[in-house]
Amino acid sequence: MISQNERLSRPRAVTGPRAGGHRTRWGRLGAKRARTGMILVSPAFALVAVFVLFPLGFAVYISLTDWPLIGPYRFIGGRNYSELIHDPGFVHSVLFTLLYTAIVTGPILVVGYAMAVLVRANRRGSAFFRTAFFLPFIVGLATESFMLLLELQPDSGAVNYVLSRLGLAHPGTAWTVNYGLALTAICVFVIWFASGLTMMLLMAGMQGIPRELYESADVDGATWWQKERRITLPLLRRNIALALIISVIGSFLAFNQFYILTEGGPGTSTQPVVMWIYEEAFVQYHLGYATAGAIALVIVVGVISAVQFYLLRDERQVRR
């Protein structure tokens, strides 16, 4: 019994007097298959075109104008982009976003990996631990940012109460109005929030590693650390790459926690690039200029993701 697909993709001998006829028939079938493929793909393509390609193209167009949100606009070419490079506010927000990304990415991966190691086996209590570690991610960043804002209040917040009891902080410490303290609090908070997702991604990868590899390593007398280094880590490259890319892109697009906890302050010292875009677009009404910043961010995130994909690509892909 040969299926329709197998019949169509089967290579045929094109020799002898009827070879031309075969070729014509094969060509007709190929064209029919291509047409069917096009028809099947067209709904997805239409969705991508309407919701991704058109808005992206329109955003590029807006970035080449002095669009003020309301009122007439002019086409000004690449002036927004040249002004962007010399804008100290934009440059500061980009540098701050890079610093924030550099601080949180490593700890999120390390904490997520440690938790994944702890709960990867189906032992008693592992389902509870997995749920507990993943719960902050489920609750959501905005909700938890408001919770933290309440607890960071001087004199009434739980953070100051606990830290002052331990002798680590004054009860009146104002966390959200000091650059260093605000950045520290937000970084610890984001590591707590996001490591659950990294744990899930890495745990899924770990559970896909064949047990036989660990059993043969046990027979060879390998230690726990040797098994992690020689088996788990190399086979987790793709999952680690995915976790890193999600974490880096998430950090580049950080907005909620900064908007709720510090509003970019004191001054604009904790203003990430997305908040700069928001302020320019919807407070200053410089929509064209803000969109140029957004397009620059899209390019930077795209380049970083491509570099990470390249550096963390699978060995099998390299050999192919």
Binding site: M115, L118, V119, R123, G125, S126, F128, F129, A132, F133, L135, P136, V139, E144, M147, L150, E151, Q153, D155, S156, A158, Y161, P171, W192, G196
Partner: protein, 45 residues
Amino acid sequence: MSRNRAGFVLYVTAGTLASIVFLLPLAWAVLRSFMPSNLVTQAPS
């Protein structure tokens, strides 16, 4: 056998401590939501 038991004790201890770190703030927030608003913004006594 005793190595397995030690591993399980370590697993339970680490898992419990980590669970406290991840669950306590959420549980505390739920508790806070039942308090009257003037008590929430009051200095602890």
